[in-house]
Protein backbone atom coordinates (compact mmCIF):
# COMPACT_ATOMS: atom_id res chain seq x y z
CA UNK A 1 0.00 0.00 0.00
CA UNK A 2 1.12 3.50 -0.65
CA UNK A 3 2.14 5.67 2.20
CA UNK A 4 -1.28 7.11 2.91
CA UNK A 5 -1.78 9.60 5.59
CA UNK A 6 -3.15 8.29 8.81
CA UNK A 7 -5.38 10.45 10.84
CA UNK A 8 -5.68 10.07 14.54
CA UNK A 9 -9.19 10.80 15.62
CA UNK A 10 -10.08 11.14 19.20
CA UNK A 11 -13.53 10.35 20.43
CA UNK A 12 -15.39 11.71 23.36
CA UNK A 13 -14.50 8.88 25.64
CA UNK A 14 -10.86 9.45 24.79
CA UNK A 15 -10.22 6.54 22.53
CA UNK A 16 -7.89 7.20 19.69
CA UNK A 17 -8.59 5.64 16.32
CA UNK A 18 -6.03 5.41 13.61
CA UNK A 19 -7.64 5.46 10.24
CA UNK A 20 -6.43 6.00 6.76
CA UNK A 21 -7.11 9.45 5.54
CA UNK A 22 -9.02 8.23 2.52
CA UNK A 23 -11.45 6.46 4.78
CA UNK A 24 -11.78 9.26 7.25
CA UNK A 25 -12.68 11.60 4.43
CA UNK A 26 -15.82 9.58 3.73
CA UNK A 27 -17.22 11.45 6.64
CA UNK A 28 -18.23 14.88 5.44
CA UNK A 29 -17.63 16.40 8.81
CA UNK A 30 -14.05 15.23 9.06
CA UNK A 31 -13.45 16.27 5.49
CA UNK A 32 -14.44 19.84 6.19
CA UNK A 33 -12.40 19.86 9.35
CA UNK A 34 -9.28 18.68 7.58
CA UNK A 35 -9.58 21.15 4.79
CA UNK A 36 -10.23 23.96 7.20
CA UNK A 37 -7.27 23.06 9.35
CA UNK A 38 -5.01 23.41 6.33
CA UNK A 39 -2.91 20.34 6.88
CA UNK A 40 0.43 19.52 5.36
CA UNK A 41 1.44 16.06 4.18
CA UNK A 42 2.73 14.50 7.36
CA UNK A 43 1.89 11.23 8.91
CA UNK A 44 -0.05 10.83 12.12
CA UNK A 45 -1.76 14.08 12.10
CA UNK A 46 -3.85 14.67 15.05
CA UNK A 47 -7.23 16.02 14.23
CA UNK A 48 -9.30 18.10 16.48
CA UNK A 49 -11.14 16.39 19.19
CA UNK A 50 -14.26 14.82 17.83
CA UNK A 51 -16.69 14.59 20.66
CA UNK A 52 -18.47 11.39 19.95
CA UNK A 53 -19.42 8.18 21.73
CA UNK A 54 -18.14 4.65 21.16
CA UNK A 55 -20.28 4.29 18.12
CA UNK A 56 -17.56 5.95 16.15
CA UNK A 57 -15.67 2.74 16.34
CA UNK A 58 -18.42 1.00 14.50
CA UNK A 59 -18.54 3.74 11.92
CA UNK A 60 -14.87 3.38 11.20
CA UNK A 61 -15.09 -0.36 11.01
CA UNK A 62 -17.85 -0.14 8.51
CA UNK A 63 -16.05 2.34 6.38
CA UNK A 64 -12.86 0.35 6.36
CA UNK A 65 -14.53 -2.85 5.36
CA UNK A 66 -16.45 -0.98 2.74
CA UNK A 67 -13.28 -0.29 0.88
CA UNK A 68 -11.94 -3.79 1.00
CA UNK A 69 -14.78 -6.05 0.04
CA UNK A 70 -16.11 -6.72 -3.42
CA UNK A 71 -19.75 -5.96 -4.22
CA UNK A 72 -21.40 -9.35 -3.74
CA UNK A 73 -19.71 -9.97 -0.44
CA UNK A 74 -20.46 -6.43 0.59
CA UNK A 75 -24.21 -6.98 0.70
CA UNK A 76 -23.78 -10.10 2.84
CA UNK A 77 -21.39 -8.31 5.13
CA UNK A 78 -23.68 -5.33 5.36
CA UNK A 79 -26.72 -7.38 6.29
CA UNK A 80 -24.73 -9.02 9.07
CA UNK A 81 -23.35 -5.70 10.21
CA UNK A 82 -26.78 -4.23 10.61
CA UNK A 83 -28.28 -7.17 12.47
CA UNK A 84 -27.96 -5.50 15.79
CA UNK A 85 -30.53 -4.52 18.33
CA UNK A 86 -32.38 -1.26 18.56
CA UNK A 87 -29.96 0.56 20.80
CA UNK A 88 -26.98 -0.15 18.60
CA UNK A 89 -28.93 0.85 15.53
CA UNK A 90 -29.81 4.04 17.28
CA UNK A 91 -26.18 4.78 18.03
CA UNK A 92 -25.22 4.02 14.47
CA UNK A 93 -27.82 6.48 13.37
CA UNK A 94 -26.55 9.25 15.59
CA UNK A 95 -22.99 8.55 14.51
CA UNK A 96 -23.82 8.54 10.83
CA UNK A 97 -25.88 11.66 11.17
CA UNK A 98 -23.25 13.53 13.11
CA UNK A 99 -20.34 12.47 10.97
CA UNK A 100 -22.38 12.73 7.79
CA UNK A 101 -21.35 9.43 6.31
CA UNK A 102 -23.82 8.87 3.53
CA UNK A 103 -23.29 5.17 2.86
CA UNK A 104 -23.65 4.27 6.51
CA UNK A 105 -26.75 6.41 6.80
CA UNK A 106 -28.30 4.70 3.77
CA UNK A 107 -27.60 1.30 5.22
CA UNK A 108 -29.15 2.09 8.56
CA UNK A 109 -32.24 3.80 7.14
CA UNK A 110 -32.84 0.82 4.90
CA UNK A 111 -32.50 -1.53 7.82
CA UNK A 112 -34.95 0.41 9.95
CA UNK A 113 -37.34 0.64 7.01
CA UNK A 114 -37.23 -3.13 6.62
CA UNK A 115 -37.78 -3.48 10.35
CA UNK A 116 -40.94 -1.42 10.16
CA UNK A 117 -42.14 -3.38 7.18
CA UNK A 118 -41.61 -6.64 9.01
CA UNK A 119 -43.97 -5.54 11.76
CA UNK A 120 -47.34 -7.05 11.14
CA UNK A 121 -49.43 -4.25 12.50
CA UNK A 122 -49.36 -0.96 14.31
CA UNK A 123 -49.14 -2.42 17.80
CA UNK A 124 -45.99 -4.31 16.95
CA UNK A 125 -44.45 -1.18 15.50
CA UNK A 126 -45.23 0.75 18.64
CA UNK A 127 -43.81 -1.99 20.83
CA UNK A 128 -40.64 -2.45 18.85
CA UNK A 129 -39.73 1.19 18.78
CA UNK A 130 -41.32 2.17 22.04
CA UNK A 131 -43.55 4.77 20.44
CA UNK A 132 -46.30 6.37 22.42
CA UNK A 133 -49.68 6.51 20.78
CA UNK A 134 -50.61 10.17 20.87
CA UNK A 135 -53.83 9.89 18.95
CA UNK A 136 -57.02 10.41 20.86
CA UNK A 137 -59.19 7.31 20.81
CA UNK A 138 -61.71 8.88 18.52
CA UNK A 139 -59.08 10.15 16.08
CA UNK A 140 -57.54 6.73 15.93
CA UNK A 141 -60.86 5.13 15.19
CA UNK A 142 -61.44 7.60 12.39
CA UNK A 143 -58.07 6.98 10.86
CA UNK A 144 -58.47 3.23 11.02
CA UNK A 145 -61.80 3.43 9.32
CA UNK A 146 -60.49 5.74 6.63
CA UNK A 147 -57.58 3.48 5.91
CA UNK A 148 -59.46 0.21 5.91
CA UNK A 149 -59.13 0.06 2.15
CA UNK A 150 -55.65 -1.32 2.39
CA UNK A 151 -56.74 -4.54 4.04
CA UNK A 152 -56.62 -7.66 2.02
Amino acid sequence: MLLSKNSALESKDNEIFEVEESIAIQSELIKTMTTMVNSKAYVNERNQMVPEARCRKQANYHVEQNNKIVDEELSDWESKFFEVDMDDLHELFMAANYLEIESLLNGVTKRVGDFIKACKNVEVIRQTFGINNDFAAQQEEEIRKLNSWNHI
Binding site: I125, I131, N132
Partner: protein, 384 residues
Amino acid sequence: MRTRRGLCYPRPADVCVDKLVVKTQDFARDFMGCRKRQRFSPEIAGNPDFFDLLPDDIVISIFSKLSFTARSPSDFINVLITCKRFKSLALSSVVLSKASPKMFAIKAKNWSESAHRFLKTCSDAGNVEACYTLGMIRFYCLQNRGSGASLMAKAAINSHAPALYSLAVIQFNGSGGSKNDKDLRAGVALCARAAFLGHIDALRELGHCLQDGYGVRQNIAEGRRFLVQANARELAAVLSSASASNEMTHTWLTWSPHPIPPASQRHPAIPGCPLLSDFGCNVPAPEAHPASRFLAEWYEGRGGIPGPGLRLCSHVGCGRPETRKHEFRRCSVCGAVNYCSRACQALDWKLRHKAECAAVEQWLDEEADGGHAVAGNDDVIAGS
Protein backbone atom coordinates in the same frame (compact mmCIF):
# COMPACT_ATOMS: atom_id res chain seq x y z
CA MET B 1 -36.11 24.95 27.60
CA ARG B 2 -33.76 22.35 28.94
CA THR B 3 -34.34 20.32 32.00
CA ARG B 4 -32.19 17.73 33.61
CA ARG B 5 -34.33 15.10 32.05
CA GLY B 6 -33.99 16.59 28.65
CA LEU B 7 -36.63 17.73 26.20
CA CYS B 8 -39.52 16.06 24.50
CA TYR B 9 -39.53 12.70 26.11
CA PRO B 10 -42.96 11.12 26.01
CA ARG B 11 -44.54 11.36 29.43
CA PRO B 12 -46.65 8.36 30.25
CA ALA B 13 -50.11 8.38 28.73
CA ASP B 14 -51.73 11.81 28.74
CA VAL B 15 -49.60 14.73 27.65
CA CYS B 16 -49.44 15.21 23.93
CA VAL B 17 -45.92 16.23 23.22
CA ASP B 18 -45.12 18.42 20.30
CA LYS B 19 -42.71 16.41 18.27
CA LEU B 20 -42.52 18.66 15.31
CA VAL B 21 -39.61 20.63 16.64
CA VAL B 22 -36.79 20.33 14.18
CA LYS B 23 -33.84 18.94 15.99
CA THR B 24 -30.37 20.26 15.33
CA GLN B 25 -27.01 18.61 15.75
CA ASP B 26 -26.43 20.24 19.13
CA PHE B 27 -29.70 18.97 20.42
CA ALA B 28 -28.76 15.51 19.33
CA ARG B 29 -25.58 15.57 21.34
CA ASP B 30 -27.32 16.90 24.40
CA PHE B 31 -29.95 14.25 24.09
CA MET B 32 -27.32 11.59 23.93
CA GLY B 33 -26.01 12.74 27.23
CA CYS B 34 -29.45 13.08 28.75
CA ARG B 35 -30.45 9.71 27.42
CA LYS B 36 -27.54 8.06 29.10
CA ARG B 37 -28.46 9.69 32.38
CA GLN B 38 -32.05 8.59 31.94
CA ARG B 39 -31.10 4.99 31.67
CA PHE B 40 -29.85 4.92 35.19
CA SER B 41 -32.57 6.94 36.84
CA PRO B 42 -35.37 4.63 37.81
CA GLU B 43 -37.94 7.26 38.69
CA ILE B 44 -38.59 8.17 35.08
CA ALA B 45 -41.31 6.06 33.59
CA GLY B 46 -41.50 5.64 29.82
CA ASN B 47 -38.26 5.47 27.87
CA PRO B 48 -37.64 7.80 24.98
CA ASP B 49 -38.61 6.06 21.81
CA PHE B 50 -36.29 5.21 19.01
CA PHE B 51 -37.45 7.94 16.72
CA ASP B 52 -37.66 10.70 19.26
CA LEU B 53 -34.02 11.59 18.97
CA LEU B 54 -33.82 11.37 15.22
CA PRO B 55 -34.25 14.56 13.27
CA ASP B 56 -37.13 14.86 10.82
CA ASP B 57 -35.11 14.54 7.68
CA ILE B 58 -33.71 11.18 8.76
CA VAL B 59 -37.16 9.87 9.60
CA ILE B 60 -38.32 11.04 6.20
CA SER B 61 -35.50 9.15 4.52
CA ILE B 62 -36.45 6.02 6.48
CA PHE B 63 -40.00 6.36 5.25
CA SER B 64 -38.84 6.98 1.70
CA LYS B 65 -36.92 3.72 1.70
CA LEU B 66 -39.94 2.03 3.22
CA SER B 67 -42.30 3.29 0.55
CA PHE B 68 -39.82 2.45 -2.17
CA THR B 69 -39.66 -1.19 -1.12
CA ALA B 70 -43.27 -1.58 0.01
CA ARG B 71 -44.91 -4.76 -1.24
CA SER B 72 -48.46 -3.76 -0.43
CA PRO B 73 -50.40 -0.73 0.79
CA SER B 74 -50.60 -2.05 4.34
CA ASP B 75 -46.84 -1.86 4.77
CA PHE B 76 -47.14 1.87 4.49
CA ILE B 77 -50.51 2.53 6.05
CA ASN B 78 -49.41 0.95 9.32
CA VAL B 79 -46.93 3.76 9.61
CA LEU B 80 -49.62 6.39 9.22
CA ILE B 81 -51.62 5.00 12.11
CA THR B 82 -48.71 4.72 14.51
CA CYS B 83 -48.46 8.22 15.84
CA LYS B 84 -48.99 11.82 14.83
CA ARG B 85 -45.42 12.55 13.95
CA PHE B 86 -45.27 9.52 11.72
CA LYS B 87 -48.45 10.52 10.02
CA SER B 88 -47.31 14.01 9.20
CA LEU B 89 -43.85 12.94 8.08
CA ALA B 90 -45.01 9.95 6.08
CA LEU B 91 -47.38 12.09 4.06
CA SER B 92 -44.63 14.41 2.90
CA SER B 93 -44.25 14.54 -0.84
CA VAL B 94 -40.69 13.21 -0.79
CA VAL B 95 -41.89 9.95 0.70
CA LEU B 96 -44.96 9.62 -1.48
CA SER B 97 -43.17 10.36 -4.72
CA LYS B 98 -40.85 7.41 -4.19
CA ALA B 99 -43.59 4.87 -3.54
CA SER B 100 -43.43 1.63 -5.42
CA PRO B 101 -46.26 0.48 -7.75
CA LYS B 102 -47.17 -2.30 -5.34
CA MET B 103 -48.19 0.27 -2.81
CA PHE B 104 -51.13 1.17 -5.05
CA ALA B 105 -52.29 -2.42 -5.44
CA ILE B 106 -55.72 -1.67 -4.05
CA LYS B 107 -58.34 -4.38 -4.06
CA ALA B 108 -61.33 -3.29 -6.09
CA LYS B 109 -63.75 -4.37 -3.42
CA ASN B 110 -62.04 -2.07 -0.94
CA TRP B 111 -62.38 0.98 -3.13
CA SER B 112 -63.56 3.99 -1.19
CA GLU B 113 -63.27 7.76 -0.99
CA SER B 114 -60.23 7.51 1.24
CA ALA B 115 -58.48 5.17 -1.18
CA HIS B 116 -59.27 7.65 -3.93
CA ARG B 117 -57.89 10.47 -1.82
CA PHE B 118 -54.76 8.55 -1.05
CA LEU B 119 -54.07 7.96 -4.73
CA LYS B 120 -54.78 11.59 -5.47
CA THR B 121 -52.36 12.74 -2.78
CA CYS B 122 -49.66 10.48 -4.13
CA SER B 123 -50.18 11.57 -7.70
CA ASP B 124 -50.11 15.21 -6.62
CA ALA B 125 -46.83 14.50 -4.89
CA GLY B 126 -45.50 13.51 -8.28
CA ASN B 127 -45.63 9.74 -8.08
CA VAL B 128 -45.89 8.51 -11.66
CA GLU B 129 -47.33 5.11 -10.79
CA ALA B 130 -50.08 6.77 -8.76
CA CYS B 131 -50.90 9.04 -11.70
CA TYR B 132 -51.16 6.08 -14.02
CA THR B 133 -53.18 3.90 -11.64
CA LEU B 134 -55.59 6.68 -10.77
CA GLY B 135 -55.87 7.63 -14.43
CA MET B 136 -56.85 4.09 -15.39
CA ILE B 137 -59.34 3.82 -12.57
CA ARG B 138 -60.92 7.18 -13.34
CA PHE B 139 -61.07 6.60 -17.08
CA TYR B 140 -62.54 3.10 -17.09
CA CYS B 141 -64.15 2.40 -13.75
CA LEU B 142 -65.38 5.82 -12.75
CA GLN B 143 -66.08 6.80 -16.36
CA ASN B 144 -64.41 10.15 -15.92
CA ARG B 145 -62.72 10.25 -19.31
CA GLY B 146 -61.21 13.70 -19.26
CA SER B 147 -59.60 13.50 -15.84
CA GLY B 148 -58.45 9.93 -16.38
CA ALA B 149 -56.82 10.73 -19.68
CA SER B 150 -55.09 13.81 -18.34
CA LEU B 151 -53.67 11.86 -15.41
CA MET B 152 -52.37 9.21 -17.76
CA ALA B 153 -50.93 11.94 -19.92
CA LYS B 154 -49.14 13.32 -16.88
CA ALA B 155 -47.57 9.94 -16.30
CA ALA B 156 -46.82 9.53 -20.00
CA ILE B 157 -44.97 12.83 -20.11
CA ASN B 158 -42.68 11.41 -17.46
CA SER B 159 -41.93 8.47 -19.76
CA HIS B 160 -44.07 5.95 -17.98
CA ALA B 161 -44.31 3.15 -20.52
CA PRO B 162 -47.60 1.55 -19.41
CA ALA B 163 -49.26 4.99 -19.47
CA LEU B 164 -48.05 5.60 -23.00
CA TYR B 165 -49.33 2.22 -24.08
CA SER B 166 -52.72 2.74 -22.44
CA LEU B 167 -53.10 6.08 -24.18
CA ALA B 168 -52.19 4.38 -27.45
CA VAL B 169 -54.94 1.80 -26.95
CA ILE B 170 -57.38 4.61 -26.24
CA GLN B 171 -56.38 6.34 -29.47
CA PHE B 172 -56.59 3.16 -31.54
CA ASN B 173 -60.07 2.40 -30.30
CA GLY B 174 -61.36 5.94 -29.92
CA SER B 175 -62.32 5.02 -26.35
CA GLY B 176 -64.53 7.45 -24.53
CA GLY B 177 -65.77 8.89 -27.81
CA SER B 178 -67.23 7.79 -31.10
CA LYS B 179 -65.81 5.69 -33.90
CA ASN B 180 -64.64 8.84 -35.61
CA ASP B 181 -62.47 9.75 -32.65
CA LYS B 182 -60.02 7.02 -33.56
CA ASP B 183 -56.62 8.43 -34.27
CA LEU B 184 -54.42 5.71 -35.67
CA ARG B 185 -51.36 7.79 -36.27
CA ALA B 186 -51.41 9.18 -32.75
CA GLY B 187 -51.82 5.64 -31.48
CA VAL B 188 -48.83 4.46 -33.43
CA ALA B 189 -46.74 7.39 -32.23
CA LEU B 190 -47.58 6.67 -28.59
CA CYS B 191 -47.00 2.99 -29.13
CA ALA B 192 -43.63 3.68 -30.66
CA ARG B 193 -42.63 5.80 -27.68
CA ALA B 194 -43.68 3.06 -25.25
CA ALA B 195 -41.93 0.43 -27.35
CA PHE B 196 -38.80 2.50 -27.32
CA LEU B 197 -38.92 2.36 -23.53
CA GLY B 198 -39.15 -1.42 -23.73
CA HIS B 199 -42.83 -2.06 -23.07
CA ILE B 200 -43.52 -5.56 -24.35
CA ASP B 201 -47.20 -5.12 -25.28
CA ALA B 202 -46.39 -1.92 -27.13
CA LEU B 203 -43.68 -3.72 -29.08
CA ARG B 204 -46.19 -6.37 -30.12
CA GLU B 205 -48.82 -3.83 -31.04
CA LEU B 206 -46.35 -1.85 -33.09
CA GLY B 207 -45.20 -5.02 -34.82
CA HIS B 208 -48.75 -5.83 -35.83
CA CYS B 209 -49.42 -2.29 -37.00
CA LEU B 210 -46.36 -2.42 -39.21
CA GLN B 211 -47.32 -5.78 -40.62
CA ASP B 212 -50.82 -4.61 -41.45
CA GLY B 213 -50.04 -1.06 -42.43
CA TYR B 214 -52.38 0.16 -39.72
CA GLY B 215 -51.75 3.83 -38.95
CA VAL B 216 -48.28 3.55 -40.43
CA ARG B 217 -46.79 2.53 -43.74
CA GLN B 218 -46.71 -1.22 -44.11
CA ASN B 219 -43.37 -2.85 -43.48
CA ILE B 220 -43.72 -6.54 -42.88
CA ALA B 221 -40.10 -7.31 -42.18
CA GLU B 222 -39.82 -4.53 -39.65
CA GLY B 223 -43.06 -5.65 -38.02
CA ARG B 224 -41.84 -9.19 -37.74
CA ARG B 225 -38.64 -7.94 -36.12
CA PHE B 226 -40.62 -6.08 -33.47
CA LEU B 227 -42.69 -9.15 -32.69
CA VAL B 228 -39.62 -11.28 -32.27
CA GLN B 229 -38.08 -8.63 -30.08
CA ALA B 230 -41.18 -8.57 -27.87
CA ASN B 231 -40.92 -12.33 -27.38
CA ALA B 232 -37.22 -12.13 -26.63
CA ARG B 233 -37.74 -9.38 -24.07
CA GLU B 234 -40.47 -11.35 -22.39
CA LEU B 235 -38.22 -14.36 -22.05
CA ALA B 236 -35.38 -12.21 -20.76
CA ALA B 237 -37.62 -10.56 -18.17
CA VAL B 238 -38.90 -13.89 -16.90
CA LEU B 239 -35.42 -15.38 -16.74
CA SER B 240 -33.97 -12.43 -14.88
CA SER B 241 -36.80 -12.40 -12.35
CA ALA B 242 -36.52 -16.16 -11.89
CA SER B 243 -32.80 -16.00 -11.31
CA ALA B 244 -33.31 -13.14 -8.88
CA SER B 245 -35.65 -15.30 -6.85
CA ASN B 246 -33.41 -18.35 -7.34
CA GLU B 247 -36.08 -20.54 -8.85
CA MET B 248 -35.35 -23.64 -10.79
CA THR B 249 -35.98 -22.28 -14.22
CA HIS B 250 -35.76 -25.53 -16.03
CA THR B 251 -38.86 -26.91 -14.39
CA TRP B 252 -41.02 -24.72 -16.58
CA LEU B 253 -38.68 -23.65 -19.30
CA THR B 254 -38.67 -26.51 -21.75
CA TRP B 255 -37.52 -26.69 -25.28
CA SER B 256 -39.96 -28.18 -27.68
CA PRO B 257 -39.64 -28.17 -31.47
CA HIS B 258 -43.40 -28.61 -31.87
CA PRO B 259 -45.55 -25.52 -32.08
CA ILE B 260 -48.11 -26.99 -29.69
CA PRO B 261 -46.44 -28.93 -26.89
CA PRO B 262 -48.31 -31.94 -25.52
CA ALA B 263 -50.19 -31.37 -22.29
CA SER B 264 -47.90 -33.69 -20.34
CA GLN B 265 -45.02 -31.27 -20.68
CA ARG B 266 -46.82 -28.58 -18.78
CA HIS B 267 -45.77 -28.17 -15.22
CA PRO B 268 -48.84 -28.65 -13.03
CA ALA B 269 -48.06 -25.91 -10.55
CA ILE B 270 -47.13 -23.19 -12.99
CA PRO B 271 -49.44 -22.72 -15.97
CA GLY B 272 -46.83 -23.22 -18.63
CA CYS B 273 -47.87 -22.08 -22.03
CA PRO B 274 -46.28 -21.89 -25.45
CA LEU B 275 -45.83 -18.18 -25.06
CA LEU B 276 -42.89 -18.17 -27.41
CA SER B 277 -44.22 -20.52 -30.01
CA ASP B 278 -41.54 -19.12 -32.31
CA PHE B 279 -38.86 -20.66 -30.20
CA GLY B 280 -40.91 -23.43 -28.68
CA CYS B 281 -40.27 -22.33 -25.13
CA ASN B 282 -42.78 -22.59 -22.33
CA VAL B 283 -42.81 -19.45 -20.26
CA PRO B 284 -45.26 -18.41 -17.54
CA ALA B 285 -47.59 -15.54 -18.31
CA PRO B 286 -46.32 -12.07 -17.38
CA GLU B 287 -47.50 -10.49 -14.16
CA ALA B 288 -50.26 -7.96 -14.59
CA HIS B 289 -49.86 -4.35 -13.46
CA PRO B 290 -51.78 -3.49 -10.25
CA ALA B 291 -53.98 -1.12 -12.27
CA SER B 292 -54.98 -3.92 -14.67
CA ARG B 293 -55.69 -6.22 -11.76
CA PHE B 294 -57.87 -3.56 -10.24
CA LEU B 295 -59.88 -3.20 -13.44
CA ALA B 296 -60.31 -6.96 -13.75
CA GLU B 297 -61.52 -7.27 -10.14
CA TRP B 298 -63.79 -4.25 -10.51
CA TYR B 299 -65.72 -5.74 -13.40
CA GLU B 300 -65.66 -9.20 -11.94
CA GLY B 301 -67.50 -7.75 -8.99
CA ARG B 302 -70.05 -6.35 -11.39
CA GLY B 303 -70.72 -9.67 -13.08
CA GLY B 304 -68.23 -9.15 -15.88
CA ILE B 305 -70.44 -6.69 -17.68
CA PRO B 306 -69.16 -3.12 -17.85
CA GLY B 307 -72.42 -1.75 -19.17
CA PRO B 308 -75.43 -2.46 -21.37
CA GLY B 309 -74.24 -4.30 -24.44
CA LEU B 310 -70.59 -3.74 -23.59
CA ARG B 311 -67.93 -6.40 -23.25
CA LEU B 312 -64.56 -6.80 -21.59
CA CYS B 313 -61.30 -7.57 -23.30
CA SER B 314 -61.12 -11.35 -23.30
CA HIS B 315 -57.51 -11.31 -22.23
CA VAL B 316 -57.73 -11.76 -18.49
CA GLY B 317 -54.58 -9.84 -17.67
CA CYS B 318 -55.85 -6.72 -19.44
CA GLY B 319 -59.18 -5.94 -17.82
CA ARG B 320 -60.16 -3.10 -20.14
CA PRO B 321 -63.86 -2.60 -20.91
CA GLU B 322 -65.49 -1.23 -24.02
CA THR B 323 -66.71 2.33 -23.80
CA ARG B 324 -69.20 1.98 -26.65
CA LYS B 325 -70.79 -0.88 -28.51
CA HIS B 326 -68.66 -2.92 -30.86
CA GLU B 327 -65.54 -1.00 -29.93
CA PHE B 328 -63.32 -4.08 -29.66
CA ARG B 329 -62.47 -6.50 -32.44
CA ARG B 330 -63.29 -10.16 -32.24
CA CYS B 331 -61.57 -13.37 -33.20
CA SER B 332 -62.25 -13.91 -36.89
CA VAL B 333 -62.36 -17.67 -36.51
CA CYS B 334 -64.80 -18.32 -33.71
CA GLY B 335 -66.13 -14.81 -33.02
CA ALA B 336 -66.65 -15.72 -29.39
CA VAL B 337 -63.92 -13.55 -27.89
CA ASN B 338 -62.93 -9.96 -28.43
CA TYR B 339 -59.86 -7.90 -27.67
CA CYS B 340 -58.97 -4.26 -27.10
CA SER B 341 -55.76 -4.51 -29.09
CA ARG B 342 -53.78 -6.88 -31.25
CA ALA B 343 -51.25 -7.32 -28.51
CA CYS B 344 -53.93 -8.70 -26.17
CA GLN B 345 -55.22 -10.89 -28.96
CA ALA B 346 -51.79 -12.36 -29.68
CA LEU B 347 -51.07 -12.93 -26.01
CA ASP B 348 -54.42 -14.53 -25.27
CA TRP B 349 -54.12 -16.75 -28.33
CA LYS B 350 -50.92 -18.22 -27.03
CA LEU B 351 -52.02 -18.38 -23.43
CA ARG B 352 -55.43 -19.84 -23.83
CA HIS B 353 -57.51 -19.24 -26.91
CA LYS B 354 -55.47 -21.43 -29.23
CA ALA B 355 -56.75 -24.51 -27.44
CA GLU B 356 -60.35 -23.29 -27.30
CA CYS B 357 -60.51 -22.08 -30.86
CA ALA B 358 -59.74 -25.60 -31.99
CA ALA B 359 -63.42 -26.48 -32.08
CA VAL B 360 -64.07 -24.33 -35.10
CA GLU B 361 -60.90 -25.52 -36.76
CA GLN B 362 -62.17 -29.06 -36.63
CA TRP B 363 -65.14 -27.92 -38.62
CA LEU B 364 -62.78 -26.34 -41.12
CA ASP B 365 -60.79 -29.61 -41.28
CA GLU B 366 -63.66 -31.30 -43.04
CA GLU B 367 -63.56 -28.79 -45.82
CA ALA B 368 -59.86 -28.27 -46.31
CA ASP B 369 -56.55 -29.77 -45.34
CA GLY B 370 -56.28 -29.63 -41.51
CA GLY B 371 -52.66 -28.60 -41.32
CA HIS B 372 -53.22 -25.94 -43.91
CA ALA B 373 -56.08 -24.36 -41.99
CA VAL B 374 -54.13 -24.31 -38.75
CA ALA B 375 -51.14 -22.65 -40.31
CA GLY B 376 -53.37 -20.15 -42.10
CA ASN B 377 -55.16 -19.27 -38.88
CA ASP B 378 -51.89 -18.83 -37.09
CA ASP B 379 -50.85 -16.20 -39.56
CA VAL B 380 -54.12 -14.32 -39.54
CA ILE B 381 -54.79 -14.30 -35.85
CA ALA B 382 -51.51 -14.61 -34.08
CA GLY B 383 -49.50 -12.98 -36.79
CA SER B 384 -46.25 -14.20 -35.36
